[in-house]
C-alpha cells in the first residue's frame, strides 16, 4: 500500500505539470518544489514504514504545536514569479528586507517633423527598491537613468546618463486607515502619474499623456514633503484619501523643490478616490492642489489645480479618462487670472481567445494653455491622437507599435511611428 502511495505521488507529477506547460516561466520553480514535495513524502513514508514495523499507528497526527514554516519551499510573490527578492513566510525575521526590481525599454522613433532624426534610443533604466524596516515601516526607492543628448560635451565631459531619484519614501502604517509617509513622491493628483510611475511596461501605450510627461510643466509630477493616506470605511464605495503637505514646484516649475521651498510657502493637496464593490473594476476620484509658485524673481502666482479621473481597471475594455484645470493668479504687478485645461481619453481592448496577447488601443488628448499665462510661457497646447498595438511577448515583456498624430498651435501637424520593447526584471 505504501508503495502504491509512492506510485501515486510519482504519477501525479506529470499530471500536475502538464497543464502549465505553456507557462515556461514557472516550470523550473514548480519542478523544484514538486521534487521537494516528493522528498518530503518519501521521508514521511519511511517514517510510516518504521512505525508499521514497530507496530504503532501509521496515521500521522496533525501537530498541535506551532509549526516552523518550511522556508526553503516558499518564496515571496516576487521571488517565484518576479525578481522582487525573496522572503520567508510570515514576517521577515531580519530587517531590512531589501528587494530590487527594475523596468526598462528600448525605442524606435520616426517622424515627419522637420529637423528631427529617426532612429533607436534607449529608454529609461529604472531600479525599484523596496525594503521593510519592521512590520509597519517600509522604504521605497525609485531611481532612473536616462540617456543624455550631450554625452562627452563640456568640461568635465557630461556623462552618458542622468541619474535621478524619482521616488524616495519612508512610510509608517498604523492600519488600513492611517499611513503617514515622508519623501519624494509622484504627486497623487493624477491617476497616470501614480499608477504607472516610470514602469513603461505597466502602461498600455508607449507614450505618457502630455499632461503628465516627464519633464513637463503642466502637472507638478513630483512632490517633496509628507503624505497621510488610507482607506475610509464608507460602505461599498471603498473610499481612499491622500492629504499632503510639501514644497511644491521649484524655480524650474517642472521640478519639485528637492533642496527646499523657494518661496517659504508650502503646497498642499487632497486626493479622494473610490473603488466601489459594484461594478468591480470602476475607479473614480478627484483632487485639489494649492501652491504659491515663484518661477522667477518678481513673478509670483497662486496655483490651483483641480483634477478628476474615471477609470475602468480591466482590459476588456480598458478605459482611462482624466481632466485637470490649472488656475494661475499672478500676485505681483498687474493681477490676472489664467486657466489652462488638459484632458485625455484612452481606450484599449485585450483581444479574446488565441489573440489574447494582443491589445489595440487609442488615445485622444487635448491641452489648452493661454498664451498670455506667464507661468506657462512657451508651453504649447496640443491636440493629438495615438493609436497602437501592444503584444505581450511574455508575462514580463511587451512589444508596442504606435502611430501618433499631433497638432500644436502655430506649428505644422506632426505624424510619427514609434516602436518599443518594455519589460520588468
Amino acid at each position: 500500500m505504501l508503495r502504491l502511495k509512492l506510485c501515486l505521488a510519482l504519477l501525479s507529477i506529470p499530471l500536475a505539470i502538464y497543464p502549465q506547460s505553456a507557462d515556461s516561466d514557472n516550470q523550473a520553480e514548480l519542478i523544484r518544489a514538486l521534487r521537494e514535495r516528493i522528498d518530503q513524502l518519501e521521508r514521511r513514508m519511511a517514517q510510516m514504514e518504521s512505525a508499521l514495523a514497530a507496530g504503532t499507528s501509521p496515521v500521522r497526527a496533525k501537530p498541535e504545536t506551532k509549526l516552523e514554516a518550511p522556508k526553503e519551499a516558499v518564496a515571496h510573490m516576487g521571488g517565484a514569479e518576479h525578481p522582487m527578492g525573496t522572503a520567508p513566510p510570515g514576517e521577515p525575521s531580519t530587517y531590512p528586507s531589501l528587494k530590487i526590481a527594475g523596468f526598462s525599454d528600448f525605442d524606435f522613433a520616426s517622424t515627419d517633423q522637420h529637423g528631427v532624426k529617426s532612429g533607436f534610443n534607449e529608454g529609461q533604466f529604472v531600479l525599484h527598491l523596496n525594503s521593510n524596516l519592521s512590520q509597519k515601516v517600509t522604504v521605497l526607492g525609485e531611481i532612473s537613468l536616462t540617456a543624455r543628448t550631450d554625452p562627452g560635451i563640456g568640461s568635465p565631459p557630461a556623462a552618458g546618463f542622468n541619474v535621478e531619484v524619482e521616488r524616495s519614501i519612508i512610510r509608517f502604517e498604523q492600519n488600513d486607515y492611517f499611513k503617514i509617509s515622508f519623501g519624494r513622491y509622484h504627486t497623487p493628483i493624477n491617476y497616470w502619474n501614480t499608477e504607472f510611475h516610470h514602469g513603461q511596461w505597466l502602461q498600455t501605450t508607449i507614450s505618457r499623456p502630455e499632461m503628465v510627461q516627464f519633464g513637463g510643466k503642466f502637472i507638478p509630477v513630483h512632490f517633496v514633503g509628507a503624505l497621510v493616506e488610507g482607506a475610509v470605511p464608507f460602505g461599498g464605495l471603498n473610499l481612499n484619501y491622500n492629504v499632503g503637505l510639501g514644497n511644491g514646484r521649484g524655480t524650474i516649475i517642472s521640478r519639485a523643490g528637492d533642496f527646499g521651498d523657494n518661496n517659504n510657502n508650502r503646497a498642499w493637496l487632497v486626493n479622494l478616490f473610490a473603488k466601489p464593490d459594484h461594478p468591480f473594476g470602476l475607479r473614480f476620484g478627484a483632487s485639489v492642489y494649492r501652491d504659491k509658485i515663484t518661477p522667477a524673481a518678481g513673478l509670483n502666482a497662486r496655483e490651483w489645480i483641480q483634477s478628476g479621473h474615471i477609470v475602468w481597471q480591466k482590459e476588456n475594455p480598458e478605459f482611462i479618462a482624466e481632466f485637470a484645470n490649472i488656475t494661475h493668479e499672478t500676485i505681483a504687478g498687474r493681477a490676472a487670472t489664467f486657466n489652462s485645461q488638459a484632458w485625455y481619453v484612452q481606450v484599449g481592448y485585450r483581444l479574446p481567445g488565441i489573440a489574447v496577447l494582443w491589445k489595440p488601443y487609442y488615445r485622444f488628448e487635448y491641452i489648452h494653455i493661454p498664451k498670455s499665462d506667464p507661468i506657462f510661457l512657451g508651453v504649447p497646447g496640443l491636440a493629438g491622437s495615438v493609436v497602437g498595438l501592444r503584444y505581450d511577448i511574455s508575462s514580463f515583456a511587451a512589444l508596442k507599435l504606435e502611430y501618433r498624430n499631433q497638432w500644436r498651435p502655430d506649428q505644422v501637424r506632426v505624424n510619427g511611428i514609434f516602436a518599443q520593447t518594455s519589460f520588468t526584471f
Binding site: C7, E29, A75, A80, H82, L140, D176, L202, A231, K314
Partner: protein, 153 residues
C-alpha cells in the same frame, strides 16, 4: 493486483477526483478575529486592499502556485483576471507602494495549512475537502463551502 493495474486504478481515481472538485475554502488560523466576510471583503483581502485584521495583526496572503486549481478559481472568480494580469497586478501594486509585500506562494494544501497554522494573520484558500480541523473556514456571505450560493468553486 499487478503494479500496472494499481497504477491504472490510481490514474482513474485521480481523474475522477479531478472531475468532481470541491468548493474552495478561505482558511485562517483559529484565533483570527473574523468568522464571516462578504464576497467583496474577501476580494479586498486577496487584492491587498485590506492589509490588517486589526492594527496589530497584519494579513499575510498565501496563494497556491500557478496551475493549481485553487489558484485558478481565485484568480478568475475573485480577481476577475488572467494569470498574466494577476502577476502584473501584484508587481504594479508593490511598485506603487500600495503593498509592501506580495502574496507568498505555497505548493500544496498541506504546506498552506502548515503555514496558516504557523503564521499569525495568514489567510489562504484550499480545497474544502482537505482543510484540517484545527483551522477556521471563513463564511462568505454567511455561507460555508458546499452550501447553496457559495461562490468560490
Amino acid at each position: 493486483m499487478s503494479t500496472v493495474s494499481k497504477l491504472a486504478a490510481v490514474a482513474m481515481l485521480s481523474l475522477s477526483l479531478a472531475a468532481a472538485p470541491s468548493d474552495v475554502a478561505v482558511v485562517v488560523r483559529a484565533d483570527t478575529p473574523v468568522d464571516n466576510l462578504s464576497f467583496a471583503d474577501v476580494r479586498k483581502l486577496f487584492m491587498g486592499d485590506r492589509q490588517y485584521w486589526t492594527s496589530n495583526l497584519r494579513v499575510t496572503l498565501l496563494i497556491r502556485e500557478p496551475a493549481a486549481r485553487e489558484r485558478d478559481v481565485v484568480v478568475k472568480t475573485l480577481y476577475g483576471m488572467t494569470e498574466a494580469q494577476f502577476r502584473q497586478y501584484w508587481i504594479s501594486k508593490i511598485f506603487r507602494l500600495e503593498a509592501s509585500i506580495g502574496p507568498k506562494i505555497v505548493y500544496s494544501s498541506d504546506m498552506a495549512a502548515e503555514l496558516v497554522t504557523a503564521v499569525p494573520g495568514a489567510v489562504t484558500f484550499m480545497d474544502s475537502s482537505v482543510v484540517p480541523k484545527s483551522l477556521k473556514i471563513l463564511k462568505i456571505d454567511s455561507r460555508l463551502p458546499g452550501e447553496k450560493g457559495y461562490r468560490l468553486h
